[in-house]
Structures are given as structure tokens and as C-alpha cells.
């Protein structure tokens, strides 16, 4: 007897065709399912480690780092990267960067302790940020860490600590400046244009209690205008050369900070991030060329330190999730509810993250809104996205989530999930376990009078 083969099912969809204003993008032609990450099937990863799941590709981290390092090292003789812990301080991630040669760049005692715990020598931990207590200073001075001074209160506080310890700390000042980009970042450090930076430098040198070894700036975040770095490099070089002229002191390093954009698409951007994000070569060309032409003698070119975080790690991170439900909103738009939301994907507040189905899908798309699972109105992952018909249980991959999500994620309503790192041989390693209720409640204590109640 002949058996009738059933057809593969696809959810029925109908979409109104609107003849709107044409754009250069044309029509979207379809979806490319993202079924594997570094050779491992998404469905196998979620079956083994659960959903939602953060996945980090060690291969991508190393490739991206080497691309960035080479872009600078091919243009400048003396380059050092320092891994920005706040961008992603999973120990496994930090250690990949340290294996590649990165120092650590931290902005709190917590991050400082993490870097020490990872085995980074104290003199290779750059201590940035406005939040350093006297005890933080004491520890950093004893470890010989470069301390980047943010304000005069810190400068005076550090002088006091170093006097008590009888040690000369290695310091730099953070400099803020007008680089032609708005808004100008002037909340951190000492201003270049109004002379405050020079005053701080003079104070440090004349009081002779600290060794001024570097100058630091960080001109912004997600900087799409590379020209700002040329302006910044020129002003930093000007300060360093003036210090040499006036005090005969060689500045050992210029730390140009970070702020390089990743290929994510910012909300409201007309063009996609993959089309407009400058390459590492673009940033390197601006910074290195400016420094080389600035007037240093070639043997006195200071070490160039870079603290870029986002651009080095964003591409390596994926968030895998599962469709919990589909529903229709009052205007007929489709809403798809995922098992991850803004609690895990903090960056969805400012990016239009690329999302792909993790299984074969129809080429028919519907306008949809992608919600997270939280019982909160703000939990929107994508406000307007074209998606193929997805069924409950289907899986999705969110791209470029490596930066800031695993540090800014919130234990809000639901617990944080597993993080897996896929090594160079394609082996998955659990690098952070999902949280349990006990993990959180062990930090709480209940006063005796609240221990019992009758309902």
C-alpha cells in the first residue's frame, strides 16, 4: 500500500504589501538560518546547556584581537593593549586576552581583584575610573600598578597615601578634550583646553611624590568618527612634548583609551553597523600617523596603550534563546516572546541587534516585535523586526552580544543563565554556571521577628 508523504508544515502568514518610498536597500530577500557556532549545532548547545545561553567563540576573540593588534603594530613600533574588564570580565574571556598579550584595564577594586586573581602582574593592571578609595590606592601603590588620576581630590588623596607608605606611585592623568565630537566627554579627567590638565601635570611633577609615567584619554564611546582620535592623539602628544620641554621628563606611555565601535547597529541609525563601522585600520591610521608625525624623536616614541573593549569582544558573543509564544497585538502586528529579555540583553536598549533563526525557515517574513519574558512593559528586544514564521520552541540566535551584556546583565525577575566558551578545537566549556535561587538567597538574612507568619 502506498503511504502518502506529509508535507513540511509552515505556519500560514499573510502580509500587506506597501508601496512606500523606495530606499537603496531594496527588498529583504530572505533569512539565513544560523544553525551552528564554531561547528557546534545551536540545538545541541541548548539541549546540553539550557536556553537561554550565552556562547562565546574563543576563535573569534583571538582573530579579532590579532586583527586589531596588527593594525596598530604595523603602523607604530611600540603597542600594548589592555583588556577592558568592564566590557566582559568573565575570567575565561579575560584570560584569552591575557594569553594574547593584553594587560588589564580596570575601573574598580572589584575588577582590580579579578585581574589579580587571573594572575595579571600588578604593574600590568591599569587602574582607571573616578571610584578609588584610599585603600584601593594603597593596594595599587603596593602592587606598583599604574594609577590613572581622574580628579584633584584623587590626586591629593593619592599623595597622602603614598606619603604614608613611603612609596612613589606610578601615575598618569586622564585628560579630557574637545575632539570635535559632540557630546564632549568632560566628566572624566582633567580638561586640556582650559589648562586644568597642565595644572595637574605641574602639580604632580613639582610635588615630586609620584612618578608621572603616562597620559590617558578616552574620548567617547562607539566612536564612528575616527578623526576624533587624530585630534586626541595630537593633543596628548602636545602635552607629552611640553612635559619633555619644560621638565625634561619623558612620558613613557600614551594611553588612547577605547571607544572603538563594534559592528552592531545603533538604534535610529540609517545604515547598518556592518556598513559604517570603521575598521581597526581606520582608527590605527588616525592615531599612529598623528603620533609619529607629532615631533617625538623616533627612539623616544612613547608606548601606545589601547583599551578598546567593545570592538574586540562584541562579535565573539552570541545569545541563544527559544520562542516561548507568538501572539497578535491589537494592530495585527505579530509579537514573539523569547525566553531572554533586557535583563540579559542590556544592549538591546541601544542596539538593533541582528537576530537569526537557528533552524531552516520560510523566506516569508512578517513585521514583528520581539519581546523578552519579563512581566514588564520595557522588556522589548527588537521593536520592529522582520521575522520568518516561528513556532513555539524554535530557536533564535542574537549576534554581537559579547560586550557589556555579561557584565551589565540583571538578576531581575529571572536568574542568569549559563555561559559557554567554545575553544579553538570546537569544544564547549561551561565558564559560568547558571544562577540558582540559593545563590541569591544566601546573601540575604531575615530578622528574627520576620521569621514566621500566619496566613
Amino acid at each position: 500500500m502506498e503511504t502518502l508523504q506529509k508535507l513540511k508544515y509552515e505556519r500560514p502568514v499573510i502580509k500587506q504589501l506597501n508601496a512606500g518610498v523606495t530606499t537603496k536597500f531594496g527588498a529583504q530577500t530572505g533569512f539565513i538560518p544560523h544553525t551552528h557556532i564554531d561547528g557546534l549545532a545551536v540545538k545541541d548547545l541548548t539541549a546540553r546547556f539550557g536556553s537561554p545561553l550565552f556562547v562565546i567563540s574563543e576563535r573569534t576573540i583571538r582573530q579579532t584581537y590579532q586583527e586589531a593588534y596588527n593594525a596598530f603594530a604595523n603602523r607604530y613600533p611600540n603597542v600594548q593593549f589592555a583588556w577592558s574588564y568592564k566590557t566582559n570580565y568573565m575570567n575565561a574571556v579575560c584570560r584569552v586576552f591575557h594569553q594574547e598579550g593584553s594587560w588589564a584595564e580596570v575601573v574598580s577594586r572589584f575588577e582590580y581583584e579579578k585581574a589579580l586573581g587571573n594572575g595579571v602582574p600588578g604593574d600590568k593592571i591599569i587602574f582607571n575610573g573616578p571610584d578609588k578609595t584610599a585603600d584601593d590606592h594603597r593596594v595599587a601603590v603596593l602592587n606598583n600598578s599604574p594609577i590613572h588620576i581622574d580628579h584633584f581630590d584623587e590626586l591629593y588623596g593619592l599623595m597622602e597615601v603614598s606619603t604614608k607608605l613611603g612609596k612613589r606611585p606610578k601615575v598618569a592623568i586622564r585628560v579630557n578634550m574637545d575632539t570635535g565630537v559632540q557630546p564632549m566627554w568632560d566628566r572624566f579627567g582633567f580638561n586640556y583646553e582650559n589648562g586644568q590638565a597642565w595644572d595637574a601635570i605641574t602639580k604632580i611633577i613639582q610635588t615630586d611624590k609620584m612618578d608621572l609615567v603616562g597620559l590617558h584619554c578616552h574620548v567617547g564611546t562607539f566612536m564612528l568618527a575616527t578623526s576624533a582620535y587624530a585630534v586626541a592623539a595630537s593633543k596628548m602628544a602636545d602635552l607629552a612634548l611640553n612635559i619633555k620641554r619644560q621638565f625634561g621628563l619623558d612620558i613613557q606611555y600614551l594611553d588612547m583609551g577605547g571607544g572603538f565601535a563594534s559592528k552592531n547597529t545603533l538604534k535610529g541609525a540609517y545604515l547598518s553597523g556592518t556598513d559604517i563601522t570603521p575598521s581597526f585600520h581606520d582608527y590605527a591610521e588616525q592615531i599612529c600617523t598623528t603620533l609619529i608625525k607629532a615631533g617625538f624623536r623616533s627612539e623616544e616614541l612613547p608606548l601606545l596603550i589601547l583599551e578598546t573593549g567593545r570592538a574586540l569582544i562584541d562579535d565573539a558573543g552570541y545569545l541563544l534563546g527559544t520562542v516561548l509564544a507568538n501572539k497578535r497585538l491589537s494592530d495585527g502586528r505579530r509579537a514573539t516572546i523569547m525566553d531572554f529579555g533586557v535583563n540579559l540583553l542590556f544592549t538591546s536598549f541601544w542596539y538593533e541587534h541582528a537576530v537569526s533563526p537557528a533552524q531552516d525557515c520560510s523566506q516569508y517574513a512578517e513585521d514583528a516585535i520581539l519581546y523578552g519574558p519579563l512581566c514588564m512593559n520595557i522588556d522589548v528586544v527588537r521593536e520592529n523586526v522582520k521575522l520568518p514564521p516561528l513556532n513555539k520552541g524554535d530557536q533564535m540566535v542574537v549576534h554581537r552580544v559579547g560586550a557589556y551584556n555579561m557584565t551589565q546583565w540583571m538578576q531581575f525577575i529571572s536568574l542568569r543563565p549559563n555561559i559557554v566558551l567554545i575553544d579553538l578545537d570546537g569544544q564547549p566549556h561551561l565558564i559560568r554556571k547558571h544562577e540558582t535561587v540559593e545563590d541569591l538567597t544566601q546573601l540575604e538574612s531575615t530578622p528574627a521577628h520576620l521569621e514566621s507568619f500566619d496566613l
Binding site: L7, Y9, P12, V13, R328
Partner: protein, 83 residues
């Protein structure tokens, strides 16, 4: 069981282009959608359509029912059927 009728003004092409001549609206639908529209044209009820879908496709009953309900709601919202 519900009877729904596709509006007379609605034309459906084999490749899923749908045109409602009375309003000038055009739509695109996928093969499953095209098939359901054809069945509606033939005057099938929701129960009959569900049975047909279950016979022809690899689909469980709950998903079939949810998706059919959703699709009919969308057709209604787009003024393509009269209940």
C-alpha cells in the same frame, strides 16, 4: 464550527499574491496561506480546514488550531473575509 467566506473581490494567484480589488490592497502569503485561502474560496469551514491541514502536513493538532485561528484573524483584520 465557523463559516467564513472569502470576499468576492479577492483574487489569489498560485504563487501567493493576493489582491483585494474593492480596496486596492495587495498582500503576499506563503503556500500554506494560499491553500487556506483556496479552501475558504471553496466554502470550507474551520473544522474542515483543520482536518485537511492535519491530513496533508506534518503538524500537531494544537499548533494547527492556533495557527489557523491566527491566520483567520489576520484575514479578518485585513478585510479579506466576511464571517
Amino acid at each position: 464550527m465557523f463559516f467564513m467566506k472569502l470576499k468576492k473581490s479577492v483574487a489569489i494567484s498560485e504563487n501567493g499574491f493576493v489582491f483585494n480589488a474593492s480596496r486596492g490592497d495587495s498582500f503576499s502569503t506563503n503556500p500554506t496561506g494560499t491553500r487556506i485561502l483556496d479552501w475558504l474560496r471553496e466554502g470550507k469551514t474551520d473544522t474542515e480546514m483543520k482536518t485537511l491541514l492535519l491530513e496533508k502536513y506534518e503538524i500537531d493538532e494544537a499548533t494547527c488550531e492556533k495557527d489557523l485561528y491566527d491566520f483567520i484573524k489576520m484575514l479578518n483584520q485585513q478585510n479579506l473575509i466576511e464571517a
